[in-house]
């Protein structure tokens, strides 16, 4: 079946521009996670949704980062006034279970480059 998809796969933004990254999770998965992965590092947690509720946003690095999942399926990560340090791969993952130790299925990521 279809896995997690993300779009766009690549995004180049000029410093100060706003960007929106989309995640389509596996159908029926209640849990959705966003991660940021710098080159040569493991993914770093950004935020977690259970259906449409954002239960944990402790990993968002600043108030320029905003995520939503209004209908409990597709999610969007928005970054306002992008900075060079925002350059990274942004990964989305979904899980069929509530957050509590189950495996997550990752999308291919969106590579964001801020120039």
């Amino acid at each position: 079946g279809a896995g997690v998809s993300q779009s766009p796969r690549y995004k180049v933004a000029k410093r100060g521009q706003d960007v929106a990254l989309r995640c389509d999770p596996i159908s029926g998965h209640v849990s959705l996670f966003w991660y940021q992965q710098a080159l040569g590092q493991g993914p770093e947690f950004l935020t977690y949704f259970q259906n449409e509720a954002q239960l944990d946003k402790s990993g968002l690095p600043s108030d320029r980062f905003f995520a939503e999942r209004p209908e409990g399926s597709v999610s969007t990560l928005k970054i306002q006034r992008t900075q060079q340090e925002d350059s990274a791969v942004y990964l989305c993952a979904s899980s069929s279970q509530l957050a509590g130790g189950s495996e997550q299925y990752f999308g291919p990521g969106t590579r964001l480059t801020v120039t």
Binding site: V4, F33, Y35, G40, Q41, G42, P43, E44, F45, Y48, L55, D56, S58, G59, L91, A93, A99, G100, G101, S102, E103, Q104, Y105, F106, G107, P108, G109
Partner: protein
């Protein structure tokens, strides 16, 4: 603070040369330890979940083990297609997963 440390950072093996990757962790109330494989330009691919010390899981040439302080990913007679970055992650009392920096594994034919 929850923390995950993986070693070595990189490992080069000859095809058929078995070895182990290490994941040391500090977490309050372990709810799960995960191993993922990540190929260049792709998202991590789930391999195993371990829940308690003494637990072991196997998949083809890979076996994961868990103690109270660390986990090992044993690779037996690896093939070039096993080349990838292997990520370890833990979930503690909160909902978020903490990843290590990974071990880049390269298998030479």
């Amino acid at each position: 603070e929850d923390q995950v440390t993986q070693s070595p950072e990189a490992l080069r093996l000859q095809e058929g040369e078995s070895s182990s990757l290490n994941c040391s962790y500090t977490v309050s109330g372990l709810r799960g330890l995960f191993w993922y494989r990540q190929d260049p330009g792709k998202g991590p691919e789930f391999l195993f979940t371990l829940y308690s010390a003494g637990e072991e899981k196997e998949k083809e040439r890979l076996k994961a083990t868990l103690t109270k302080k660390e986990s090992f990913l044993h690779i037996t007679a690896p093939k070039p297609e096993d080349s990838a970055t292997y990520l370890c992650a833990v979930m503690g009392g909160a909902s978020k997963i903490i990843f290590g920096s990974g071990t880049r594994l390269s298998i030479r034919p």
